[in-house]
């Protein structure tokens, strides 16, 4: 009996163990079938060492296909701790070839990590030399570095890229998503200590190159504008000169200059003459930020008399003034309890509205502003798009600084009417002027025209909003006529170009604080006056000596037009 009892128990024992095996088997099936993907992925992450391959960044090309931003091959030098056989030789060689301090290299060579980067953006020749030493544990990977063939050309527009080829400034930032591409990877299987496992080989994920950006900028117009700006800056000992040239019909910008420009291939170089001794990193960065600043977009100023274009357009549109409306200027005007002087203190006497514009007569424009009243004036200010940003495709556009409507009295209205007591950016002024003379369509100023995939050639045309009818076509035509008169007979005489019909307006505004003796002289010109194909503005900041816009800024635009009108294929009127 006893014997049979334990036999039964032995059989039970067997089945108990089978049951236990089944339990762990279920667990195994769960792990190896259901959870297999999860753990495989985790394991692969653990085993693979990634090395990124930079994607070639898209190029930036001007309207004629000239390459303005390109890539050149450079090398990244790294060390792999586990593979280094002679650390001292490696340290010595790398610090010599890369011109780095011994301590810097030593720290990285002796750091226990799977892969340590010593230096990136090493010249290809240097990289090739290092590769020829053929030292164990030293890796030289080729990648791309941004290269700007024209150094300073349109530096504040194009911008530059950082060590990882990411856009830092200008169009490089704005179009980052198109330009950057998708980096590739070299995946190597390693053991737990980071040693490569040869039998597994390498897996490469090829990088996808960034797309090429075609911009409306014209290298020749830009270069010539820069030359003119530098000349003006030198002769007038000015603090800075800005020039923008744009197509008033569609907002394509041909040139945007802010001298002094900086070298895009060495953007972190502090200019000579600046004391770098004793500057903190923050202060150095502030200096650099100042150098990189695009005054046409990032800074606001009081536009002065060029803003009379806006006041005139609002007055004509609203019907409170016509070209033949007659005025009388005694040299001043009393607004509420304030006496505001005309720049011609003896007064312009009797004049119609066209002549008042030609004379840039402040009392007349104050009168027009007052006839409109705060509400209407403010309405036009907004209708013309002056309250919003222009939407230009560059980062950091500054907003308009304007009185609040409820704080605006007649005195404020009077000063705004001739372009003072508020601030806008140069691009805002140019865009608004362009929109008034182009038939009344508020265009968006821009550089980006199209994005082209260099691989398959697909093009993406970039489009920009246009707001039609901000002023009527009639008002626009009247404004073109009046502004042509300003150049042909009035204060903008220095903007005349032989054989072309030019329209324009000058401005001379004193910078705050008043009485500092510092001025901003500017001139807005467009051509041909009857069918504008180009509009340009020149702004000279703080010129020495003669500071009248009509005398110093208008000639800059004249020289520009003399050269670029034939270049753009715009015919002289007598040849049509």
């Amino acid at each position: 009996m006893n014997k049979h009892a334990h036999r039964k128990k032995i059989t039970i024992t067997f089945f108990l163990f089978v049951l236990m095996f089944l339990v762990v088997l279920v667990r195994l099936v769960y792990l190896m079938v259901w959870r297999s993907d999860y753990y495989s992925q985790k394991a692969t992450q653990l085993h693979e060492r990634e090395r990124n391959i930079k994607a070639a960044r898209g190029r930036i090309l001007d309207r004629n296909g000239t390459v303005l931003a390109d890539n050149k091959t450079v090398c990244t030098v790294s060390v792999i701790y586990n593979q280094i056989e002679e650390p001292e030789t490696v340290i010595e060689m790398l610090s010599r070839e890369l011109e780095l301090s011994r301590e810097f290299v030593e720290k990285r060579v002796k750091k226990y990590s799977s892969m340590e980067r010593i230096k990136s953006n090493v010249e290809k020749e240097t990289g090739d030399r290092i590769r020829e030493y053929d030292m164990a544990g030293v890796k030289v990977d080729e990648d791309y570095k941004r290269y700007y063939p024209y150094d300073t050309l349109a530096s504040k527009v194009l911008g530059f890229t950082g060590g990882d080829n990411q856009g830092i400034l200008g169009l490089e930032v704005k179009y980052e998503e198109y330009l950057k591409g998708v980096p590739g990877q070299i995946l190597t299987m390693t053991d737990a200590k980071g040693v490569e496992v040869e039998r597994e080989g390498e897996r490469r994920l090829e990088p996808i190159a960034g797309k090429d950006l075609y911009i409306s900028l014209d290298r020749n117009i830009q270069a010539y504008s820069e030359q003119l700006a530098r000349q003006a800056m030198a002769t007038k000992e000015a603090d800075g000169v800005s020039i923008i040239a744009m197509n008033p019909q569609n907002g394509e910008i041909y040139a945007m200059v802010n001298v002094p420009e900086f070298n895009l291939n060495d953007p972190f170089l502090l200019p000579e003459g600046i004391e770098t001794e004793g500057l903190t990193e923050q202060q150095k960065q502030d200096v650099l930020n100042g150098i990189w600043r695009n005054g046409c977009i990032n800074d606001t100023y009081e536009p002065g008399s060029t803003f009379k274009i806006i006041t005139a357009a609002a007055g004509l549109e609203e019907g409170v003034v016509t070209p033949s409306s007659s005025f009388s200027c005694p040299g001043f005007i009393i607004v509420d309890d304030r006496k505001i002087r005309c720049h011609k203190t003896t007064g312009h006497g009797a004049e119609d509205f066209v002549h008042a514009t030609m004379n840039s007569c402040n009392p007349v424009f104050i009168t027009v502003g007052l006839r409109l009243g705060v509400d209407k004036y403010y309405q036009y200010f907004e209708q013309l798009g002056l309250k919003q940003k222009t939407g230009i495709d560059l980062p950091g556009e500054a907003a308009t600084i304007m009185h609040k409507k409820e704080n605006m009295g007649n005195v404020e209205l009077a000063t705004v009417s001739f372009g003072q007591s508020f601030q806008i950016t140069p691009i805002q002024l140019l865009t608004t002027a362009a929109s008034i003379i182009n038939g009344g369509n508020r265009i968006t100023p821009h550089f980006g025209v199209k994005v082209v995939d260099s691989g398959d050639g697909t093009e993406t045309i970039l489009e920009y909003p246009v707001q039609t009818g901000i002023v009527s076509a009639e008002t626009s035509a009247l404004m073109r006529e009046i502004l042509e008169k300003v150049v042909s007979e009035g204060g903008g005489k220095n903007g005349q170009v032989e054989g072309y019909r030019i329209g324009g307006k000058t401005a001379t505004s004193q910078t705050l604080p008043r009485g500092s003796g510092k001025y901003i002289s500017s001139f807005v010109g467009f051509a041909p006056a009857d069918d504008p194909q180009i509009i340009a503005i020149a702004i000279i900041r703080h010129p020495k000596g003669v500071y009248y816009g009509g005398q110093i800024a208008a000639p800059v635009i004249r020289q520009l037009f003399e050269n670029i009108l034939p270049y753009l294929g715009i015919k002289e009127y007598n040849q049509e």
Binding site: N2, K3, A5, H6, R7, K9, I10, T11, T13, F14, F17, V18, M20, F21, V23, V24, L25, R27, L28, V29, L31, M32, V33, R35, S36, Y38, Y39, S40, K42, A43, T44, L46, H47, M189, T190, D191, A192, K193, V197, E200
Partner: protein
């Protein structure tokens, strides 16, 4: 008389030798050597400059073990009956020797004693297991019907406790202590005709265990083992320390999938799993041979246990049956627990996979146990089968 003589002759010619058991053991042994080479060669090359370093040592132990097995298989098992007391004492003394200068320390625990002049190390816990099996088998026979009583039960369970206690206290080897106690419980379960008390106690142990785990997991009880419980329930929470080995094993098992990466293709053995030839070797089997290979190995173990079950059921006497039951317990408990640990079904504790994991003492004494089983098998009268 004539018939009696004839019968005796027949016994001589048709004595039973369990070839299938031997085949399974040899298969597991050979497979184990292949897997030890596969799992250890990379690290062995790095550490010793010889990819076959561990393979060679294990091969020597396996050959020694096989010689011992053949030797034991050819000695009638009743011969060993007289050594039950000596075995018990020798096991206790050997365990105590780890605290003498003979003790060999490794991985923070002294679990081995060096055999002077040979360069080989012996793990007393492995000796203790076979000694306890012998001791308890003899005790079952001595107790006879008293085994049914509570006294008999407690004697069976408490008598190996000093050995298990010494293993736990002196060598910090909880798993070996638990295996010895597991063997004891299994043997008393088989020997006793009673069911009720085992069901009640089994349920109680499971319940108490679950509550303890729950309390440790929720942080009500904190003992030095509770972080192991946390690492068990969520190995990814402590991936760098306590959960490290478990997580690495799970990566290996999971990445094996159904068909595995192929023999020799494991990535995890490249020092991701420390000493993957030891307790975690099953995870490398899973990674290289997949679910398919894992099931094959588990089937081999079930077949092994099945053969031994048949032998135990047909053993000529209770002593022989109990010896085989003890060996079944030893091998089955270790195999199941090892797979359970590797798959993180239970908390991590060091249990080797019989015949496959690297470890000389383990394989030698396992083969001696198989020798005992074969010896029992030889005494089976075929007529009675």
């Amino acid at each position: 008389m004539a018939t009696s003589v004839k019968r005796r002759r027949k016994e001589q010619t048709e004595y039973f030798f369990d070839y299938s058991l031997l085949f399974v053991v040899l298969f597991l042994l050979g497979f184990g050597l292949i897997m030890i080479y596969s799992a250890s060669s990379y690290c062995a090359t790095e550490d010793f400059g010889d990819p076959a370093h561990y393979l060679k040592k294990q091969l020597v132990a396996s050959i020694l073990g096989l010689i011992a097995m053949i030797f034991v298989a050819n000695i009638p098992y009743h011969f060993w009956k007289m050594f039950y007391g000596v075995g018990y004492i020798v096991a206790a003394i050997l365990i105590c020797l780890v605290k003498t200068p003979l003790g060999v320390k490794s991985h923070g625990a002294t679990r081995w004693i060096g055999i002077p002049g040979t360069g080989f190390n012996l793990q007393p816990a492995e000796v203790a297991k076979i000694c306890v099996i012998l001791f308890l088998s003899v005790m079952v026979c001595k107790l006879g019907k008293k085994i049914k009583t509570w006294g008999g039960f407690f004697f069976m369970v408490l008598s190996p406790l000093p050995i298990a206690g010494l293993i736990y206290v002196l060598t910090k080897n909880l798993s070996s202590a638990l295996i010895i106690m597991g063997i004891a419980v299994l043997m008393v379960f088989v020997a006793s005709p009673d069911y009720k008390k085992f069901i009640v106690m089994g349920t109680a142990v499971v319940a108490i265990g679950s509550i303890a785990v729950y309390l440790m997991a929720t942080g009500v009880i904190t003992s030095f083992r509770s972080d192991r419980i946390t690492a068990w329930l969520n190995p990814e929470s402590d991936a760098q320390d306590k959960g490290f080995q478990t997580l690495q094993a799970l990566y290996a098992i999971g990445s094996g999938g159904v068909w595995g990466k192929g023999l020799g293709q494991s990535m995890q053995k490249l020092s991701f799993i420390p000493e993957s030839q030891n307790d975690m070797i099953f995870s490398i089997i899973c990674e290289e041979l997949g679910l398919f290979g894992a099931i094959a190995i588990m089937l081999m173990f079930i077949l092994l246990i099945w053969r031994m079950t048949v032998i135990a059921n047909n053993a000529p006497d209770l002593f022989g049956a109990m010896l085989v039951v003890g060996v079944i317990g030893h091998i089955a408990i270790q195999a199941v627990l090892n797979v359970a640990v590797v798959t993180n079904t239970i908390p991590n504790t060091g249990i080797s996979l019989p015949f496959i994991s690297y470890g000389g003492s383990s394989v030698i004494f396992l083969l001696i146990e198989i020798g005992l089983v074969l010896s029992v098998a030889k005494r089976i009268q075929l007529k009675e089968m």
